[in-house]
Amino acid sequence: MTRRRYIQAGLGLLLLCACAFLVGRGLDRLFRPTAVSEPPPAATLPPAGVPHITATLFYGTEDGEAITGVRREVPLAGDIVAQGKQILTAQMDAAPPPYVSVVPSGTEVRAFYTTSKGDAFVDLSRTVTDAHGGGSHAELLTVYAIVNAVTTNLPSIQRVQILIDGKQADTLAGHVDLRRPLDRNNAFVRSAPIEP
């Protein structure tokens, strides 16, 4: 093979590599997943230097007909019990505009427990009943905002029972049965059900 042939072969090889690179880039671009077109979450800013998670909390819609999931930054905790309490404490905070709080203002999370069967117990202060305006609709929104906040963000929890001042309660305001743990319920959630 002459020197000229070597040069031709070398050039061909270079061209081959260039073609392969370009075709590869093109295919890669063709099949590269594009960003999912989700609405931007209404997230709070994390406190500086505090590790956090993004949790889905539930607030009333502006028209008051339903609850909806809103992404919020919640401090990261060391275990599921501490994380559950952090999530619920954030849930008790005022709703970000334009949403409406469905848990009476001033309600405190006294404790949060879990069992090995996937049940959780949320112990709330008496304000949640004393300051509740009543009505089946408003009471259902309150109860399922709490139940869904726990079950959506802590996948190992399937059911939630609400306690008041450390004791089993009948209802918050005369309607929703709180005597046993409740499953997550998306019937009162506007938009697509949020899966953990």
Partner: protein
């Protein structure tokens, strides 16, 4: 020039195998799968599919024939292009995804070659082809259906609520679909106003129902009855975009298919043989109704912006309704309170159970988190897993006892605090009738019929419904709720619903 040409030729020679490894590789092991059934306005036809490594694929030449698309293999790009009316989708043999107009759609597997055919995962049809097609494409893997175009194929599930006798079953049709029901000697035939039925694996047969099966096309469902059965009856109702058909099948010679079950526990008297609705052949199934005006005493319930109290409105409507039912329907009416006093929720349930009532109706005014929320809502009990388990146990552990004068009566051992579990289907029917009557007279909420775990309903051992007549937190509705006209309209609607429910249980089923 000659140099460049040589180089390009080498490049192409090397690129072709690099871009299509499946094309040159060993053909994958394939096995035929159960064909899908394509349902369209043109009718039905089977669609063959193939299993490759446990994944279900469809051949692109079959796709071309079925959907009139053009399939072209692009050797250089290493992809397969599917074109329909100028719109294209590209699948790759290298990556489990398709590109549709610049949008990437994930697939469970990449395209594979089998002999001379290209195969793509069946989910390519709804996920990718549907994006370039001009008709709806829906794949229902569980029922092996592939739906094309605007056709109606409701999902149908069946459930035995009580093996009995009498046997009670519920058929749920989603989305809500008009249904006509015919009762024949040994079967009941449901004809749905639809193009086909997507029938979930039928419930385990029980009691006097021998089999659920697909009936005559296009959308028939047949319920075969046991030779021991009497004349069955069915009541359809619609709520939350679901049509529910409640079926009652008495034993031959049994005259009433809906005995009020006995309630062991502190809230009810011990059952006495011969005292149920079963014992009197000519007796109406609905003799006594308990009206429950919500709240009372210190517990005022919801408050309106101008000071109206829920406990006052509920008592006023209950008293109007009591008078209407007594005079018009001749039924016995019990109020859980007839003045302004507090009554616990357990006491309300116990009053209904101890008086052996046949129907329970709790009256409330609603409250919302926004002043604009308005309209009446009707609720019946939602059972969580624990309630469903209670109902299952009650059905499984039913005890049949003889009654005076012959015949028998089924006794269910159900938890007293979940007594409503065995009446949820009937309560749903009653709630549907109330919704239908109320909407003729008063404004309804955006979700007029709902299921919820409401405390006052849970322990009631009979069909039970809670009505929120309107929103007291809405200024206009607060004013309306206190008016005599509104209260009379609500009372009239509820009385009509009770009358219809009673008639549906009393009249002989169609022959």
């Amino acid at each position: 020039m000659r140099t460049a040409g040589s180089a390009l030729a080498i490049a192409l020679l090397l690129l072709v195998p690099a871009s299509g490894p499946q094309a040159q590789g060993t053909a994958p092991a394939t096995t035929p799968a159960t064909p899908l059934t394509l349902i369209s306005t043109q009718g039905r036809r089977p669609v063959p599919t193939t299993l490759v490594n446990g994944q279900e694929f469809i051949a692109l030449d079959d796709v071309a024939a079925l959907f009139l698309v053009t399939v072209r293999e692009d050797v250089q790009a290493g992809g397969i292009t599917i074109t329909y009316k100028g719109r294209t989708a590209v699948v790759s043999p290298d990556q489990p995804m398709a590109s549709v107009g610049g949008r990437v759609v994930t697939l469970p597997a990449a395209a594979v070659r089998s002999g001379r055919r290209w195969l793509v995962p069946v989910t390519f049809l709804p996920r990718a082809l549907a994006l370039i097609y001009d008709s709806r494409i829906e794949l229902r893997p569980a029922s092996r259906l592939l739906l094309l175009g605007n056709i109606r194929v409701p999902r149908v599930t069946t459930r035995i609520d009580m093996s009995g006798p009498p046997t009670r079953a519920t058929i749920e049709i989603s989305p809500a679909t008009p249904v006509t029901i015919a009762v024949e000697a040994d079967r009941m035939v449901l004809r749905l106003d639809a193009d086909a039925i997507d029938l979930a694996p039928p419930a385990a047969n029980g009691g006097l129902i021998a089999q659920f099966r697909l009936g005559d096309p296009p959308a028939g469902l047949t319920i075969l009855l046991s030779p021991r059965s009497g004349t069955a009856r069915a009541i359809p109702t619609t709520a939350d975009n679901v049509t529910r058909v409640t079926i009652d099948v008495p034993a031959a010679g049994q005259t009433d298919a809906t005995p009020p079950a006995a309630l062991p526990g502190p809230a009810a008297a011990a059952p006495t043989a011969g005292t149920s609705a079963l014992s009197g052949a000519r007796r109406s199934a609905i003799q006594t109704i308990v009206l429950d005006p919500g709240h009372g005493g210190e517990e005022a319930g919801a408050r309106g912006p101008n000071g109206a109290l829920e406990k006052v409105v509920t008592l006023e409507v209950a008293q109007r309704l009591k008078m209407l039912i007594e005079t018009r329907l001749g039924m016995r009416v019990i109020l859980t309170r007839d003045d302004d006093r507090a009554v616990t929720l357990d006491t309300r349930s116990a009053m209904a159970n101890n008086s052996k009532a046949d129907l329970f109706l709790s009256l409330h005014m609603n409250a919302g988190i926004a002043a604009s929320t308005s309209g009446a809502e009707v609720y019946f009990l939602r059972l969580d897993k624990e309630g469903e388990e209670a109902r299952r146990i009650a059905t499984a552990e039913q005890v049949v006892l003889p009654v005076r004068g012959g015949g028998s009566r089924a006794i269910e051992a159900i938890r007293w605090d979940l007594a409503q579990a065995s009446h949820v289907s009937s309560s749903g029917v009653f709630a549907g009738l109330i919704d239908a009557e109320l909407r003729k007279q008063v404004p309804m909420g955006i979700r007029p019929l709902q299921q919820a775990p409401l405390r006052v309903l849970a322990g009631v051992n009979m069909p039970a419904v809670l009505v929120e007549m309107g929103y007291l937190t809405n200024g206009e509705q607060e004013q309306l709720a206190q008016s005599a006209d509104f209260q009379a309209s609500v009372a009239q609607s509820l009385c009509d619903a009770v009358a219809t429910f009673r008639t549906s249980l009393d009249q002989p089923p169609p022959q």
